[in-house]
């Protein structure tokens, strides 16, 4: 009986939202070995720094990923601003925080939908994505784009969001919260959903620490490495506390994200109350100097790392982004071992690799 079923999983696969490839070696339905392979999305966009000046590069950077695009533009801008020693206006920083949290909500809702889809729960998927549309409407209304916002530039934001619009965002979010409560409750309480997630894909605290996993994956196992605890953004002022769960299974990871949605709503509402008036950008002059700079930001999927290296011209030497998924692939490899075929999608989803982020 030495044989095993070998199932190629991806890059094109209906249950996989993204082009990743796994060779799954199965016995019955148990995964004995899983070898991942990526590279289907690798574009090499970091190398575009040689052709785009550091300002235009911001547009390129936000196209690292269409889901967390706002975060990418912020992270990159923050790194360049740090390098050039630019102080960003207070209001811009607040706006960034608000939009970043909005995109977290949209990303988590998108993720919840895909999770539901991965477990064959079509109607839940539909309802999640229906709710997500209201966030996209906010985006479109305020920035003109639904997923790629092009809202951030070096030195601040392109435009201001008027007070009324901010108030409107709050109203939309408050309305959404009610429906969200019902929908997310399904994830937390429904028997069939729990059947798929509880006890599946257990990751201990030690695993997480050893493999350097981050984001909700880590927080689901009780490890706090939420980069929002760092200085960037207005989180400290808003009294941010990371959300931690301890079970370390798919359910815990899902719960972290569900709770984060509500937390983000709270953060936004609080921020809208506190946002000061003022300019939203400052004119940027000069070139990035010699030297390098690191910025870290908490993306929906975890901490992202930005590194820029200037050389005194308008072209940077190096712009590097280490995205959350990149750090989470090892844990994915680990967790796939010994699960069942029908859990593979669960595992992949709850660790939530975003391949276009990973490969840039």
């Amino acid at each position: 009986m030495g044989k095993r079923t070998i199932v190629p999983f991806g890059p094109q696969h209906p249950a996989l939202p993204e082009p990743i490839h796994l060779d799954l070696e199965l016995e019955d339905e148990k995964v004995i070995r899983a070898v991942p392979s990526i590279g289907y999305v690798h574009r090499g966009l970091e190398k575009l720094v040689e052709q785009n000046d550091y300002q235009i590069m911001c547009y390129v950077m936000e196209r690292v990923c269409g889901i967390c695009s706002f975060g990418h533009s912020w992270g990159y801008a923050a790194a360049v601003e740090g390098l050039m020693d630019i102080e960003v206006p207070e209001r811009a920083e607040h706006l960034r925080t608000i939009f970043h949290e909005l995109s977290r909500i949209h990303s988590h809702l998108l993720w919840l939908g895909l999770l539901a889809d991965a477990m064959g729960f079509e109607s839940l998927f539909m309802h999640c994505w229906r709710l997500r549309e209201s966030i996209l409407d906010i985006f479109e209304k305020s920035t003109g784009g639904r997923v790629i916002l092009s809202f951030t530039k070096i030195g601040g934001q392109f435009k201001d969001i008027p007070k009324e619009s901010l108030a409107e965002i709050v109203i939309i979010l408050e309305n959404m919260r009610k429906e969200l409560l019902v929908v997310t409750n399904v994830f937390l309480d429904d028997t069939s959903v729990k059947n798929r997630m509880c006890g599946v894909g257990k990751l201990s605290k030690e695993d997480i620490m050893k493999l350097g996993a981050i984001g909700p994956t880590a927080r689901g196992s009780g490890v706090n490495n939420d980069a929002r605890c760092l200085d960037l953004g207005k989180y400290k002022e808003l009294g941010f506390k990371p959300i931690l769960e301890t079970d370390g299974d798919c359910y815990a990871r899902c719960k972290v994200r569900v709770r984060e949605i509500f937390q983000s709503i709270d953060i936004i509402i609080k921020d809208v109350e506190n946002i000061p008036e003022g300019p939203v950008n400052i004119p940027v002059k000069g070139m990035p100097p010699m030297g390098d700079f690191i910025a870290r930001i908490e993306q929906p999927r975890g901490e992202a790392f930005y590194y820029v290296k200037g050389n005194g011209t308008k072209y940077l030497d190096r712009a590097r982004v280490r995205t959350p998924t990149n750090a989470n692939i090892p844990i994915l490899v680990k967790v796939l071992q010994g699960c069942y075929l029908n859990d593979v999608t669960m595992m992949v989803m709850t660790i939530d690799p975003c391949i276009s982020c990973t490969e840039r």
């Binding site: 009986m1 044989k3 095993r4 190629p8 094109q12 490839h21 060779d23 019955d28 339905e29 392979s37």
Partner: protein, 637 residues
């Protein structure tokens, strides 16, 4: 009457002859001609006695009795010796116990009992004779080619084929004896001979495993043998009875009768490899395939269920009835489950055999004419189909070098003809228009009619499980694997002939089952139960028979327009877009080219052999103990 003697003696003669012949060609001629004669003789006997119904022969000979005793004692001595030699003392002890009982009984009681008829023949015997005569002989012919290959694979060893064929033919002889003995002592004699033959056949290869398993067989079967002799002793000492026909007319609710029937049942259960005694049959799989086919499909184990079916009128709603029903039902359910976890084709077949024997036994134990009808039908279909499957696996094994189902990937592309036969065989075991299913259907109806909840449960769940393990095997074979080589040329002619004949038989029996039912089974049931019925039409109605036969015909006709005639373009399989241009491999991770490989489910966690066996052992042993406690306590119904 002489024709029956011929049947009993001729195979034995052939056996002795084959023991002396060393030349391969000559042996071939003898085996084939002998087998044909046996086949012809059994058909002749069948035709001769079919009209007459039950016939008894009073054939008495003091000499013969002593001869039998002598042979039995020699055999016992042989077992005792071998047991000492291989340090299997349990076998020696059991054999000794048996011998003691036997001698004691012979000396004290047996000679005072007057036996009216030593031999008999009725419709049931006819069926058994046909099965043994036709299938058994075909297997002998098949063995010729198979053993030639076998010898080639084991060149270094001494050619012990004469011994092999000797055993095969003796076996046939003994089997004929079992199904025609009315004298219980005779029955016992033939019974022991089959046990010993099978012992020798299982140990034929003399490997360590073979020896171990052969002793497992002999130990378990000696338990049965002791039960048998005890039963005879009980009957003899209490009622002065030593004849089947007398026994069958007795009131089974009398305590000692019940005890005897209980002991007979134990003997039947051991021989039929029902739980808790089933493990010997699995061990028997080390033997050359024809042996397995002979032991498991048509003969040895059939002797066990033959006994139980024969005793059917004694069962029913009484303690032994329930005991055998529960054991049969549980065996059916549990053995079917265990079959799921097996990838060795022969073991799957073995478990399936155990399961079906359980079902047959359960049918016998229900004690109604419907159930008996179903049981006999299953017996017939099972014998034909299973022997064919065993032989198919044997042939496949010699050509693909493995008896593992996992290696039968796309067998359809590699050995198309053999696969076609195998597919017929497998479908014959569980799919609708084929005989097995018809009989299962009848069994189900009879179980429901007898309102036995345990049996209803067992058959419902057991059938479901059966679908799974046959289905996945079938699936393995039909998979179309491109670029595979045809390895069928080297199959021996004898093998083809036999396989072809068996396959024809499988289908022919399906078509002729209304005939078998009305001409053979009904008269028998009438004589046993005294009810003038023809169960097949009572339970099904002629319309359904037509429907089934129609379906069968469809299955023969429908493939014709399809095979190799599609005009469709053939494209590659879908593999997430990474195939390497064909269906054989795809480009996987780390830049490797990964070969596609497929494995069936075995669900080891749920249906693992050890787990199931443990459950079966505990349950069935408990049932037996409880039953005997009840019987000895005087509770009979």
């Amino acid at each position: 009457m002489y024709s029956v003697f011929f049947l009993l003696l001729f195979p034995a003669l052939m056996a002795v002859l084959l023991l002396l012949v060393k030349n391969d060609k000559l042996r071939g001629v003898i085996v084939i001609s002998g087998a044909i004669v046996i086949m012809a003789a059994s058909v002749y006997v069948a035709l001769e006695f079919l009209k007459d119904g039950t016939t008894y022969f009073n054939f008495e000979s003091e000499m013969l009795d002593w001869f039998m005793l002598a042979v039995e004692l020699i055999l016992c001595a042989a077992v005792i010796y071998l047991g000492m030699k291989y340090k299997k003392y349990l076998a020696s002890i059991l054999s000794l116990v048996q011998a003691v009982f036997l001698v004691w009984f012979e000396i004290t009681y047996a000679h005072e009992i007057n036996v009216l008829n030593n031999l008999y023949i009725d419709q049931f015997s006819i069926i058994m004779i046909l099965i043994i005569g036709v299938i058994g002989s075909l297997i002998c012919i098949y063995s010729l080619g198979y053993m030639r290959d076998f010898q080639e694979h084991h060149v270094s060893e001494k050619d012990r084929r004469p011994w092999f064929f000797f055993l095969m033919f003796i076996f046939l002889s003994a089997m004929f004896g079992i199904v025609t003995s009315n004298n219980l002592m005779w029955f016992f004699f033939f019974w022991e001979v089959t046990t010993l033959c099978s012992f020798a056949l299982i140990g034929f290869t003399k490997t360590e495993e073979a020896v171990k398993n052969s002793f497992k067989q002999i130990i378990l079967n000696l338990v049965g043998g002791i039960a048998l002799i005890l039963a005879i002793i009980v009957l003899g000492t209490q009622y002065d009875v030593m004849e089947f026909d007398v026994l069958l007319r007795m009131d089974s609710n009398a305590m000692y009768v019940m005890l005897a029937v209980g002991l007979f049942s134990i003997a039947g259960i051991t021989k039929a490899a029902l739980m808790p005694f089933h493990s010997w049959l699995l061990g028997a799989m080390v033997a050359p395939t024809p042996t397995s086919a002979l032991l498991h499909s048509s003969t040895m184990v059939k002797a066990g269920v033959f006994l139980i079916l024969k005793l059917s009128p004694m069962y029913g709603n009484n303690v032994v009835g329930y005991m055998v029903m529960c054991i049969g039902g549980l065996t059916f359910l549990l053995a079917s489950m265990a079959a799921i976890s097996q990838s060795n084709a022969k073991r799957v077949l073995a478990y399936s055999t155990i399961a079906n024997l359980g079902l047959i036994a359960a049918c016998g134990a229900v004690g109604t004419y419907e159930a008996l009808w179903a049981g006999m039908m299953i017996l017939i279909f099972h014998a034909v189909t299973k022997s064919m499957l065993f032989l198919c696996v044997g042939t496949a094994e010699h050509h693909i070098g493995s008896r593992d189902i996992e290696d039968m990937d796309g067998l359809f592309s590699r050995m198309p003809k053999l696969s076609a036969l195998m597919i017929i065989g497998i479908s014959g075991m569980f799919l609708a228009p084929f005989g097995m299913l018809i009989s299962k259907w009848a069994a189900m109806i009879s179980f429901v009619n007898s309102e036995n909840l345990v049996l209803i449960t067992c058959i419902c769940f057991g059938s479901a499980v059966t679908i799974f393990y046959w289905g996945k095997w079938l699936g393995k074979m039909v998979a179309v694997v491109a670029n595979s080589k045809d390895v069928e040329e080297s199959v021996h002619k004898e093998e083809w002939v036999v396989l072809g004949l068996l396959a024809t038989l499988v289908i022919a029996i399906c078509f002729s089952f209304p005939f078998i039912s009305s001409e053979i089974l009904s008269p028998y049931l009438l004589s046993v139960f005294g009810q003038p019925v023809n169960p097949i039409f009572a339970t099904f109605g002629i319309a359904y028979v037509c429907v089934l036969l129609g379906m069968l015909a469809l299955l023969v006709v429908v493939p014709i327009p399809f095979f190799n005639k599609t005009k469709k373009k053939v494209r590659n399989n879908y593999m997430c877009g990474v195939n390497n241009g064909d269906n054989q491999s795809y480009s996987g991770s780390m830049g490797m080219s990964v070969n596609v490989s497929m494995r069936n489910w075995y669900m080891e966690d749920w249906f693992g052999e050890d787990r199931i066996n443990k459950i079966g052992l505990v349950l069935t042993t408990a049932i037996i103990i409880v039953a005997f406690v009840l019987i000895l306590g005087g509770v009979t119904s």
